[in-house]
């Protein structure tokens, strides 16, 4: 319990690890997750540390594993992500794993390269066949024209243009050449244009699209291709055409000169394609086998390598002793866990077969240890709420245990609805019951994870909402009449005439028989019918908010005493805590008293004479009130007394602590000349000494104490202290007013929630219920659907979130600023369980 209230007691310990067994010891510690290592060589850069080569090796292995995982995923083989937890491999086994991985990598690389080569080959061959098939049509077309024209008349328009050019070219002995191939369809237009521009029309391009999609060898995407055939004239142009083809990444294939040749080539291609298919299938089968084999152990390897890398990182943090025979590590460790730590080291030494044992040695320190608060699955959510504000200073009072009750309660005050509470509680209970379901636990949906992490908070919030819903007597904005209302209309004795003529009738509790006594639990259901329901509830909820707020804040102030006592600053008890509490209680505590007094003192009979608390409260500050009838005898005197006390506590709060500290540090020196004071001083020094010794024993030190006790020589700055205290005083006194007002959000949100749910009922559900034909039944189905959807999305999710936020604020600002520093550092142990466990998280994929 004390550890939940204050956090674990920590100590700094030195581990002496024999260099032979250091690896095993740290592996053992990593499994347990007990200690936080401190960096003993902060001045050494990352690549100058001792085990940098091992880490590089680990990274190399990670790279290979990443490659393996990618290949496995590409081949669509499911990865067995089992709950295995292999220990870190021994250094001597690492080589074996490394070799295995490298062999696999080489093998895989070879096979995939082969496969790619084969695929490329296959693609080329298919492209070639397509090309031959399609160009045949071009040729056939020209062949049909052939008898009519001369052999060179590939360029009919040229012939018409300039006879001269044509014949001169013929004379130069230029001959017709062909280039044919495939090009991506998107590029064909630009290709054609450039071809025309560069070759100035000395070419003819004919092209046709391939009907099938061919795989693009670079991206692996199926793309549409176009087969083209360029007939050109002359070698020079041929060169240019070839260059342009290169530029557009055309796949150029030799163009057969005759039909027979073409047929031969097609025949040859067909057999080669068939052969390739069989070879490719075999390769793929083999690749799959290799990958399946690899996928079985890849998960284990990933974890092993990760653990190994973590161990070497830790070893890099250790320093060597002079003899170079053992490693020294400094760790923060909970005092209670030191025996476990010893056992772990023994276990590590035993495993590595070291003759000299490794051991632990506690060392005194003046550093502030990190804060560790052990949590379980229930408390962790609430602790997270507190930690989000600030991790507690070491051994400070931890608000989380109180938050477990107050947080859901304050939430429920704002969210008070029985029906909504039940839905919320059932949803949370389902999550709690299924918390071991892997599918729920390991999802990557962040929003879902947030809800799932907070399932216990939601459960508590739901349960408390049920409770406050019962108190408010609200269930989907309707009241439940469980015990029977305490009011009776019959007793009023209204006549039929009165019924018919009046829209509103007032029940008078003073008439006998009308009010039979209060409803046993919460608000009487008859208020649901009353027209002044809102006025009644507002007054009730507003006063309740103030009462709850003052209690909550006073509790916060009282909790601060635990800190003062624990950090041995008793003077704070009288100089800070007492004036604070007096200020709060004398002013606002008295307000609570008046509210309660008025509730108790005035019944229905004399309610006409009930005074306004507000006026009385204002008059209390103005110190007048002669015109008003006092609530009770001696009210004026008591009020003046309370105000005076509250006002007097302000200067005490403002000046008490700084002046006392000033006296403690400076005054005692100057006054030390007097004998009497000298003795006092010696006493106090002895006390301090004892305290220090005690601290050493505890292995803890308090930073606050160190400023006043451990380093008496340290400069004490009165102005600084005074300024801080002045800020604190102003903050506190103003805070008391504004924080009390802030608690009115309990009323406001509760009102908003109740009104929203009432509006939803009136606007949606009532419309459906009003139809009294058989059709109405059918109509009710979609109406209820709408009602349900709006209830969940607006009232539960949105309103719930808003109430959650406001409850959070009330805890962080109004409650925790009364006592909680939150300036600590979280203890983060070296634990393998904290390493990312899924493949996606570590960048391997």
């Amino acid at each position: 319990m004390s550890s939940l209230l204050r956090g674990e007691e920590m100590c700094l310990a030195q581990l002496f690890l024999q260099s032979g067994s250091a690896y095993d010891c740290i592996s053992e510690l990593g499994e347990l997750g007990l200690v936080e290592f401190r960096d003993l060589n902060p001045s050494v850069t990352a690549f100058q540390r001792k085990h940098v080569n091992e880490i590089k090796k680990c990274e190399e292995m990670e790279r290979i594993l990443g490659y393996l995982l990618r290949e496995v995923k590409k081949a669509d083989i499911s990865l067995p992500e089992r709950d295995v937890n292999p220990v870190a491999p021994l250094p001597k086994h690492v080589m074996a794993i490394m070799e295995q991985l490298q062999r696999l990598e080489v093998e895989l690389g070879e096979v995939t390269r082969n496969k790619e080569k084969l695929q490329r080959n296959l693609l080329e061959l298919t492209e070639y066949t397509h090309m031959l098939r399609i160009t045949r049509k071009f040729v056939q077309r020209t062949a049909e024209r052939e008898p009519l024209q001369v052999q060179y008349e590939e360029f009919p328009f040229l012939e018409k243009e300039t006879m001269m050019d044509y014949s001169s070219m013929q004379r130069l002995g230029a001959k017709l050449g062909f280039i044919s191939g495939l090009i991506q369809r998107v590029k064909i237009e630009a290709f054609e244009r450039m071809l025309w521009r560069v070759c100035k029309g000395y070419t003819i391009l004919s092209y046709a699209e391939v009907e099938e999609y061919l795989e693009n060898p670079d991206t692996g995407e199926p793309t549409k291709c176009v087969v083209f055939l360029i007939s050109y004239w002359g070698d020079q142009i041929g060169q240019k055409v070839k260059k342009i083809c290169d530029c557009y990444h055309c796949h150029v294939y030799p163009y057969p000169s005759s039909n027979e040749e073409r047929n031969d080539v097609v025949e040859g291609l067909r057999t080669r394609i068939q052969d390739l298919h069989t070879v490719l299938n075999r390769t793929e089968d083999y690749l799959r086998q290799v990958l399946i084999k690899a996928s079985e152990s890849v998960y284990t390897w990933v974890i092993q390598v990760k653990k190994m890398k973590a161990i070497y990182y830790i070893l890099n943090l250790c320093s060597f002793d002079v003899t170079n025979k053992c490693l020294i590590a400094e760790v923060w460790c909970p005092v209670n866990d030191i025996p476990t730590l010893r056992r772990a080291l023994e276990e590590g030494s035993r495993k590595s077969g070291a003759t000299v044992p490794s051991f632990v040695n506690r060392i005194p320190t003046s550093d502030t240890p990190p804060t560790l608060i052990k949590t379980n699955k229930f408390t962790s959510g609430f602790q997270n709420i507190v930690d989000a504000y600030g991790v507690g200073s070491y051994r400070e009072v931890n608000p989380a245990p109180f938050t477990i009750i107050t947080f859901p309660f304050l939430f429920a005050v704002m969210f008070g609805d029985l029906g909504h509470g039940v839905i919320m509680a059932v949803f949370a209970a389902w999550m709690v019951l299924c918390e071991n379901n892997r599918k729920l636990k390991n999802t990557r949906n962040e929003i879902w994870n947030t809800f799932f992490e907070g399932r216990y908070i939601i459960l508590m919030m739901g349960l408390f909402s049920i409770y406050t819903g019962l108190i408010y007597n609200d269930c989907f904005s309707k009241s439940l009449n469980i015990f029977g209302s305490g009011w009776s209309v019959k007793a009023m004795g209204w006549t039929k005439e009165q019924w018919e003529n009046n829209r509103f009738l007032t029940l008078d509790p003073n008439v006998t028989g009308v009010f039979k006594g209060p409803y046993p639990l919460g608000i009487d259901p008859i208020w649901n019918l009353a027209s002044n329901r809102l006025t009644f509830l507002n007054s009730y909820k507003m006063k309740m908010s103030v009462i709850l707020g003052i209690i909550h804040m006073s509790f916060g102030v009282i909790l601060s005493t635990y800190n003062y006592l624990h950090f041995r600053k008793k003077y704070n008890l009288y100089l800070v805590f007492l004036p604070e509490l007096l200020f709060l209680l004398c002013l606002f505590g008295y307000l609570v008293f008046m509210i309660l007094y008025k509730w108790l003192a005035f019944s229905a009979k004399d309610s006409r004479h009930a005074p306004s608390i507000l006026i009385h409260f204002i008059n209390m500050f103005l110190m007048q009130g002669d015109g008003l009838q006092p609530l009770y005898p001696g009210q004026t005197g008591l009020q003046i007394f309370l105000v005076v006390i509250a006002v007097l506590s302000v200067p005490v709060l403002l000046l008490g602590k700084p002046v006392y500290l000033y006296w403690l540090h400076n005054g005692s020196h100057r006054l030390g000349l007097y004998r009497g004071y000298e003795r006092v001083r010696r006493n106090s020094e002895e006390e301090l000494y004892l305290m220090r010794a005690h601290d050493m024993e505890e292995g803890s030190s308090h930073s606050d104490l160190s400023s006043s006790g451990e380093n008496p020589t340290e400069e004490f700055d009165f102005a600084d202290e005074l300024l801080h205290q002045a800020i604190h005083t102003i903050e506190y006194c103003l805070g008391c007013v504004s924080n009390t007002a802030s608690y009115l959000r309990l009323w406001a949100l509760s009102l908003a929630h109740a009104q929203l749910s009432e509006v939803l009922w009136a606007m949606v559900m009532r419309v459906g219920l009003r139809m009294d034909s058989t059709l109405g039944v059918l109509f009710l189905v979609p109406v209820f659907g709408l009602f349900a959807v709006l209830t969940v999305s607006i009232l539960l999710v949105m309103e719930g979130l808003s109430a959650f936020l406001h409850a959070l604020r009330l805890h962080w600002v109004e409650f925790q600023n009364k006592f909680y520093g939150g300036t600590g550092v979280k203890f983060c142990p070296f634990a393998f369980s904290l390493l990312p466990s899924s493949f996606e998280h570590d960048g391997l994929l």
Binding site: T45, F47, K56, E59, R197, D246, C247
Partner: protein, 353 residues
């Protein structure tokens, strides 16, 4: 103005993105650590802790400086194409403008490569991927600038810059260099007027940067022309006319014959006086190029001080490019064991840690 009101509707996401990426630019601590490395492997280890992450470690081959260079380039291109594919006009046009300068460089590189009878397949990987375009491989076919324009580049966005560059003279190395400068002149003037048309903060930020860029080219052309047969008129045809030197400075520079005269011209302009000043005794000697780079980095850093403008995109690309140059420089020094020169990189955001 109103553009600040509506800027975020179209470009807010990308500006946020680029500012986020800017946060990943290496700090002086990173450079300090990098400069302490002994091998490329160490550098790889260090870069892992920066935004580059596993960029270098994912390759199977051994690390070389050229591999580092190409990886860094590929990284920049990935980032840029992410920006470009999400951009809406006029930002998309602005981003395209950034790529044009790389396209010009690529074209000229391919021409000179072709003149030296190099294979296109060998040249293509050396082109800057930001300036890649479809017709790139065919550049070598052209014999004259006119042919280059009318046959190959007419479809590319570079076509409008050819207005003054068309000539029938055969392409040789000198002609290619002149072509580069003419294209660049047209490009930078066009970019300048584009930014001016956009107006607002974009113009406020981009115009000084582009004016500096124009003047830098002017100076470099002048300095490089010493000892060539380029006449004053030839030179002034190459000077971009949108810089601060226009018109008087350009006229004087065209007449300049040696370094001293250039310096005299620069002395009339306070921002360039600094660059041409003699180094203080004791300070490291820096080349003119490095000084210009330094000034450029300074100007580009200013772009990030204001919001709702396109300048950040330009500046980010330029700073990232400078960063790549720095890393490559350090890597080069590390592999050649030239530890004394390792600190000659140009730090970006030296104040931030």
């Amino acid at each position: 103005g109103t553009e600040t009101l509506t800027f975020n509707v179209d470009h807010g996401y990308l500006e946020g993105l680029v500012r986020g990426m800017k946060a990943g630019i290496l700090t002086s601590t990173d450079y300090h650590n990098l400069a302490q490395c002994d091998t490329l492997e160490d550098m790889k280890l260090h870069l892992q802790s920066t935004d580059y992450g596993k960029l270098l470690s994912s390759s199977e081959e051994d690390l070389t400086v050229s591999l580092v260079d190409s990886k860094l380039r590929a990284n920049l291109v990935t980032e840029f194409s992410c920006l470009r594919s999400n951009a809406l006009p006029p930002l998309s046009t602005f981003l395209d403008y950034i790529t044009y300068s790389y396209m010009i460089d690529n074209v000229v590189m391919l021409i000179t490569g072709a003149l030296k009878q190099r294979d296109v397949a060998e040249l293509l990987p050396r082109c800057h991927p930001l300036g890649a375009f479809d017709q790139m491989a065919a550049v070598g076919i052209a014999r004259t600038p006119t042919e280059l324009y009318s046959a190959i580049l007419v479809d590319t966005p570079l076509a409008p810059f050819f207005q003054d560059a068309v000539s029938e003279s055969n392409l040789d190395e000198m002609e290619a260099e002149i072509l580069r400068n003419k294209l660049y002149k047209a490009y930078i003037e066009s970019f300048h007027s584009f930014c001016k048309n956009i107006g607002g903060v974009t113009a406020d930020i981009m115009c000084p940067v582009l004016e500096f860029e124009a003047d830098r080219r002017t100076f470099i052309i002048t300095v490089n022309s010493f000892g060539t047969e380029l006449s004053g008129a030839d030179k002034s045809a190459l000077y971009p006319s949108c810089g601060k030197l226009y018109p008087e400075g350009l006229r004087l520079l065209a007449k300049a014959e040696d370094h001293e005269q250039v310096k005299a011209v620069a002395n009339c302009y306070p921002e360039y006086k600094l660059i041409f000043d003699d180094p203080e005794p004791g300070a490291d000697f820096k080349t003119l190029e490095d000084r210009f780079f330094e000034q450029e980095v300074k100007l580009n850093m200013l772009a990030f001080l204001q919001q709702f403008h396109f300048g950040v995109f330009y500046s980010y690309v330029k700073l990232k490019e400078q960063e790549s140059r720095n890393i490559v420089w350090i890597a080069e020094c590390v592999t050649q064991r030239q530890k004394s020169k390792i600190h000659n990189y140009i730090p970006i955001f030296p104040g931030t840690h």
